[in-house]
């Protein structure tokens, strides 16, 4: 079971804030965040690194799905 957050089209730093909030509050071991630009993708990868989590990126058309696993 994983949670998918749709953060496409949101300005900085909202995708990261949404992911951080979910990481802090959710008990899920996996979190997926969908974003539509490389800046948000990179910010999420940095958040995962800072939080000591693993992160993988897959492309979905022009969007990216960042999977954060703790």
């Amino acid at each position: 079971m994983s949670e998918l957050i749709d953060a496409r089209g949101l300005s900085c730093p909202q995708p990261v804030m949404m992911a951080k909030k979910a990481l802090d509050s959710s008990k899920e071991s996996e979190l997926e965040i969908m974003v539509d630009n490389a800046t948000a993708r990179d910010n999420l990868l940095r958040l995962a690194k800072h939080s000591g989590c693993k992160a993988d990126v897959t492309s979905d058309g022009e969007d990216f799905i960042v999977k954060i696993t703790r």
Binding site: L10, S11, P13, Q14, K20
Partner: protein, 356 residues
């Protein structure tokens, strides 16, 4: 890995080239200033008639086109729009008002600091507090909403406007104004300014450097990644200012600056506050506009109008000091942005979540 270093490289290049542009003729501590240069462009287009600040600065179209070219090559050019464009226009307008009361965008603030102008330290404090204040709204759920993918042609408009500005600068038609005295008359050679603009546009697009984002991420996540670019600009410009003998520590007699502490603080407070609500500083808006973000392009136009208003209605400061109109506008700007922030608190992000 490159991404981590690219922000340092970008900061270093901006710091060095900013001082070099002043050596080649740009006004003091104004190697690069997004606010001042947009103001000069507004003047050159006749949108305001302040005779000392009219010049089609090639650096700005350089930023936009550098970001456009590299984002096309890197596959990152994405045409998008629809995230509260009018609100962004309005915020961009007031970011410019605040910056011109202080006399510089966040980037020039760092450059002024690196030449020993302590008024910029007061401005920096205001900027930091403004970012912190804006961040509180983001934590409460402030959002200007989503942007959506739109047809590519929409994303070409601002880059084409940048091309038009370069053509006007080259052929100087009679309707383009060019200062014969004051800061607008001082400039590095056209080709050097354009080259630096393009290079900075390319590097800023790759590194995502952002003066507002730097402090915001420090406050939000103790993440110093973007802020390291901010520090590098300062450090490298400081070294270059020492080399070229530009460093002079103090509050008074600083070039194109005033020493009214309260309004240096509040002007940059407004610039920082608005930049956080927009999601990026004035430089970042130019870069995003080059990447196809039409909301950032609208913000750019808001900044252009803000600059025109600033000089049409005597709101901008000068070395002589701050004007009454400037003071009133900054206060109105802070109040209006606060109201806007309150009215744009999204009810819930829960609709963004799905389980699967």
């Amino acid at each position: 890995m490159f991404r981590n270093k690219s922000v340092l490289i970008t900061g270093g290049v901006i710091g060095a080239l900013s001082v070099i542009l002043t050596v080649f003729g740009n006004p003091a501590n104004m190697g690069i200033c997004v606010a001042c240069f947009i103001r000069d462009i507004a003047g050159a287009l006749g949108l305001h008639r302040a005779e000392v600040v009219q010049y089609l600065r090639p650096e700005i179209p350089g930023f936009i086109l550098g970001a456009f070219i590299i984002s096309v090559f890197a596959g990152e050019f994405r045409t998008r729009g629809g995230s509260a464009p009018l609100t962004r226009f309005f915020i961009g307008f007031f970011v410019m008002i605040g910056a011109l009361v202080f006399l510089g965008c966040p980037l020039r603030m760092v450059l002024r600091l690196a030449s020993g102008d302590l008024n910029a330290l007061v401005g920096f404090l205001g900027f930091a507090v403004g970012i912190y204040a804006g961040l509180q709204w983001l934590k409460k759920g402030f959002s200007l909403g989503r942007s959506y993918k739109i047809e590519k042609g929409n994303g070409y408009i601002l880059p084409l406007f940048a091309v038009a500005l370069i053509i006007f600068a080259l052929i100087s038609p009679s309707f383009i104004f060019h200062s014969t005295k004051g800061p607008g008359s001082m400039s590095a050679p056209f080709i050097l300014s354009l080259g630096v603009g393009l290079l900075v546009g390319i590097l800023a697009q790759r590194s995502r450097i952002c003066m507002a984002g730097g402090l915001r991420d420090v406050f939000l996540m103790k993440d110093f990644h973007l802020f390291s670019g901010f520090i590098t600009i300062f450090a490298v410009a400081l070294v270059f200012n020492f080399i070229f003998g530009n460093f002079r520590l103090g509050f008074t007699g600083q070039p194109i600056a005033h020493s009214d502490g309260l309004w240096n603080f509040l002007g940059m407070f407004l610039a920082g506050y608005g930049s956080v609500l927009l999601g990026g500083c004035p430089l970042r808006q130019c870069i995003l506009a080059g990447e196809g973000d039409t909301d950032a392009a609208v913000t750019f136009l808001g900044m252009l109008l803000g600059a025109a208003f600033s000089h049409n209605f005597g709101l901008a400061s000068s070395a002589e000091g701050v004007t009454a109109g400037g003071q009133v506008s900054v206060i109105i700007g802070i109040i209006l942005l606060t109201g806007l922030a309150y009215l744009n608190i999204a009810k819930s992000f829960s609709s963004n979540k799905k389980r699967r």
